[in-house]
Structures are given as C-alpha cells and as structure tokens.
C-alpha cells in the first residue's frame, strides 16, 4: 500500500453537490469544528472537501446554561443552545480567516421564524468567501408553538423557499432525524427548491443523574450524536437518497474512512464529520487519506463510481 500511495497519481476524489464543487467528499459538520481556526495546528485545512461553520443566527445567542454535554453509550448529548456570535460579528470576525483557507466554506444558519431565516440569508448575500448555505431546520418554530421546522414538511418547505429566494449561493437543507418519514421531509425540501440535502442532525435524547434525581443537562433534553446514531443515519441517508434527485450529504457517527464510504455507498455524494472531531482532531484529514487509499486499492476511476453503488 505504501508504494502505491507514494507513487500513484493522486486519486480523483472530487464530487459535485449541484454547482458546488468539492475536491473530496469530506466536510466537517456544523458545531463540531468551531470556525476552523481552532484546528489549524492539527489539520491541513486546505485538504478538506469543505468546512461548515457553527450555526449562525441573526442576533448573538448566549446558549444554554451548564451542564451542556454528557457522554452516553458510544455517543454524547449536547444542548449548547445554538450559542453563536450572531451574523454581524460572524462576518466581521470569522469570515476573514475562513475565506483564506482555500476550501469551500458553508455557513450553517438557523432561526425562530421563516422571516428570520430570510433576513439572515439577505444579510449573508454578497459576503465574499461563502460557498453555500446549510439551513438547520431542527430549530423550534416559535410561531408554531416551538415544534421544530424540520418535523413538519410544509414549514420545512417554507423555510427552504424563503432561503432559496434570498440566497446568492447554493442552498443545502439539513434534515432532522426526529421524524416519522424522512422521505417525506426530503421531498418537501426538494420541492421547496433545495439544491442539496444533508442529514442527519442529532436525535433528541435525555440523560438523568440518578444521584441528584435531576436531568443531567440544564436544558433537560439534548441532541444525540456519535457512533451510537450511525445505523439510524445510514438508513435515513439511504432512504432519502433513493427518493430525491438532488445530491445528499451523509452525517452521523462517521469516525473513519470506512464509515464515510458506507454513507457514500448508501447514496451520499459527500459526508460530514461531527463528534469525531472531538475525539480525534485529525480525523477529517485522515478520512480524506483513507478514502483516497480505498479508491486506489480498488482501482476506481473516481470516488463518484461509489455513490449509491450499494447492491440491494
């Protein structure tokens, strides 16, 4: 393997998510890679397929009180509460560095109403260095009593439409796994004009501190991520990819090149790595290497041959 690795031409790992071109299918997931700079000592950032930054809202958000995270079997729950600096400071303070990395930067956006999503998108129009928007619809819809946008097809479609109309870059909509029918949701956002879909966001879970007889998280419930959710994520990616014509990006418990390749077989054009960044800060680059090795070892002309190539 070493011999092949050293002397062969670099394998073709490039993929297109609609009009968004990535040099390889490995991105870092929102909320798990900070604003990328945190990782500059450890990862050759320019080798990644794309970077998705922490979710941004119109106004700064302080997030939830502590305790915000707790480990669970092969996973973790987080209730960060969407803490972020707000779109203005994001543009002023973070984009300068991000646009210099040289890989597509996707800005993850969130809001409490369709109107907020729209305004946020407007605010990000024309900002240099933004390759695409990723719309987080796993947020409570305050107008509809706090039911998440991402669990009701019509509101998910409405958010998508509003963002798409206002955006000057491709729009990726990030689906919630907390739904009865992921296919229905995928079709709804496709219908709303999404250029691509990413999934999954976290599963809603809870942990209890038996000694104190209280929830561990101040927010009571939180989002489950990590290897524990991989089987659910893989199933949903497989179902969604079969149901829509737009590209699908797989997320959920990816820790290795093998995991990433499984999502690609299931129909994902690209993947995002989340929780694994905490455990192995170098993981994203290692997954790029691993996918490259696989493409060479299996003599594929391109990683694209593998997308949806699962034999069922």
């Amino acid at each position: 393997m070493e011999f092949v690795k050293d002397h062969d031409p670099y394998p073709d790992l490039s993929v297109n998510i609609g009009s968004l071109e990535l040099q390889n299918p490995v991105m870092t997931a929102s909320g798990t890679f900070g604003y990328a700079r945190e990782f500059e000592d450890l990862v050759n950032l320019h080798r990644l397929g794309g970077i998705i930054v922490k979710g941004i809202s119109l106004e700064p958000r302080a997030g939830n009180p502590p305790q915000r995270i707790v480990e669970t079997p092969c996973g973790m729950l987080n209730a960060i509460g969407l803490q972020n600096v707000g779109v203005d400071r994001f543009i002023a303070e973070k984009m300068v560095y991000l646009k210099g990395i040289g890989v597509p930067v996707l800005v993850n956006i969130l809001g409490d109403s369709v109107e907020e999503y729209r305004q946020l998108t407007e605010r990000l129009r024309g900002v240099e260095g933004i390759a695409a928007l990723e719309v987080n619809i796993s947020c409570p819809n305050v107008k509809k009593g706090g039911v998440a946008f991402g669990t009701v097809p019509s509101t998910a479609a409405a958010v998508t439409e509003a963002v798409k109309k206002a955006a000057d870059v491709p729009v990726m909509v990030k689906l919630s796994p907390n739904v009865s029918d992921i296919v229905e949701m995928a079709k709804a956002v496709e219908g709303g004009g999404a250029d691509s879909i990413s999934l999954v966001n976290t599963l809603i879970g809870m942990a209890i501190d038996l000694k104190r007889r209280r929830p561990v998280l101040a927010n009571v419930i939180g989002g489950l991520s990590g290897p524990a959710i991989k089987p659910v994520a893989l199933r949903m990616v497989y179902q969604a990819a079969a149901a829509v014509d737009i590209p699908v990006v797989g997320i959920g418990g990816i820790e290795s090149a093998e995991d990433a390749l499984e999502f690609i077989l299931a129909g994902a054009t690209a993947v995002q790595i989340g929780t694994a960044n905490f455990i192995n800060p170098r993981v994203s680059e290692e997954v790029v290497d691993g996918i490259g090795d696989y493409v060479k070892a299996n003599k594929l002309a391109s990683i694209r041959e593998l997308i949806g190539a699962l034999e069922v």
């Binding site: 909320g31 798990t32 890679f33 900070g34 945190e38 990782f39 000592d41 450890l42 922490k54 302080a62 997030g63 009180p65 502590p66 305790q67 915000r68 995270i69 707790v70 480990e71 079997p73 092969c74 996973g75 973790m76 987080n78 960060i80 803490q83 990590g226 290897p227 820790e255 929780t275 960044n277 905490f278 455990i279 192995n280 800060p281 170098r282």
Partner: protein, 262 residues
Amino acid sequence: MSQHQEKARIIRFEQLSGLNVRITLEAPLIAGSAEAGQFVMIRTGSGQDPLLRRPFSLHQTSSGGQIQIYFKNVGRGTDIMAHAKVGEMLDVFGPLGRGFSIADDKPACLVGGGLGIAPMLFLAKIISSLGRDHSQDLIILGGRTREDVEPLVDDFKQFGLALHCATDDGTYGIKGYVTDILRSEQLAENTQIYGCGPDNMLEVLHQFSSSRHLSCQVSVESVMACGMGACLGCNVDSSDGDYLHVCIDGPVFDTGDLAWNS
C-alpha cells in the same frame, strides 16, 4: 498557543495510593510548550466507548520531553487509565487552555486540595525558579486523609518553599481544611493566591481573598467534549451574567470573573 496530538508512551506508572495514580509520558511536543495550569485531553481507550477524551491538568513537565499527570480513578475512563501498563501508548492532545498567569513579583500562595494538588506541582516549580526572594511564598496542600497528601510532599519540598499540609481526618498535617491554614497565616498584603481543588474549597478561597482584597486565580473543572473551543460544551457562569468556557477562557480564572452561587 500551538497544540499537539501525540501518541505518548507510558514510561512510569506510580500507584500513589489506593485510587490515585501518577503516570509519566513521553510527549516532547507537549512538554516543550506547556505552561503551569494548562491541561491535556487523553483518550482513555481505543474503542468507541467511553467515547470522549478526558481532561487532566499537567502535573509536571520535564526538559527531557516528559509530562506527568496525577489522577484519581473515579469512573470508566480513569479506571481504564489506572490499569495501563508501562510501555503502552496513550493518545494525548495538548497543551490546552490558559494556565496560571504568574504575578512575577508578588508573594505566591499555592493552595491545592485533593486532586487539585495536580497542577500545583508544575506551578511550584515555576514560582520557585523566579529570581526573587521566596521567603513569603507558601504552599498549602490538603486532602481527606494521609494518602491524598503524603505521597506528594517530597516532590513539593524540593523547591524549598514553605509547605503546610492539612487533612480532614488529621492523619497528616493539621486536622482541618487548607483554608484553615490559609486563615492562620500572615499573608503579605499583595499575595497572589493560586488554587485548585473541589468547588467548595475554591468558593472559600474566593471569599477569603475578596474579603482581604487579594488577587486569587483558580483552576476549575467542567465536563468537556473537545477541550479546544470547538464544541462550546464547557461553559460556566461568569460574574457578569454571561458564560465563560473552561477550555479556552480557563481552566484558570481570576475568582472575581466567575459566578459563585452555590
């Protein structure tokens, strides 16, 4: 502040008491850039469960590229580490966070309680090497019982600073708390207090120092996922009603910057 991820070989394993372990690791990049009060994130096993790294203060570093951590076996992750063997590798990531900011010319009072003794050894070394008079410097160590304190005393003595010890049960040093010693000492007016230990001890340190208008830095804990500012999971309440993040704003804070509301 550059960070390094190293596969560090265990070169020494010391069972200092029933549950307390000290491990010496070969981690030259981390050792070379660490400051007192900083910490490392360690992957305790090789599998997916326990999933997250665990944070540990740097107990000591050597110019020979070694680092030490001193920890207590309290759960799943530390239990795995407490069964590690010399020669095995640990995946260590650091140095992380903001360490103690050394007030060069103020008399120093170091207070370590329980496992909070861990970062104090590193700090004592730095303080003792400052080119100034050390007659007003003071180290106070405490624990529940003899075995929490005694095994570490010789290491602290080497620096030649005044050293006092307390145990809850009186089996070593005075019977009482580190804060009892603190109150009984004549501290110089401009003494800088440095503390690490259980929350209630830190709160007493804060009250003591603020009542005497002394400056006090403490190293605090919180649950962490990333240790490097990426997850935003490690927040604590700040005195101005906002949040601070232990892994990047700390783990060492001026006590005045934190909310003490227990």
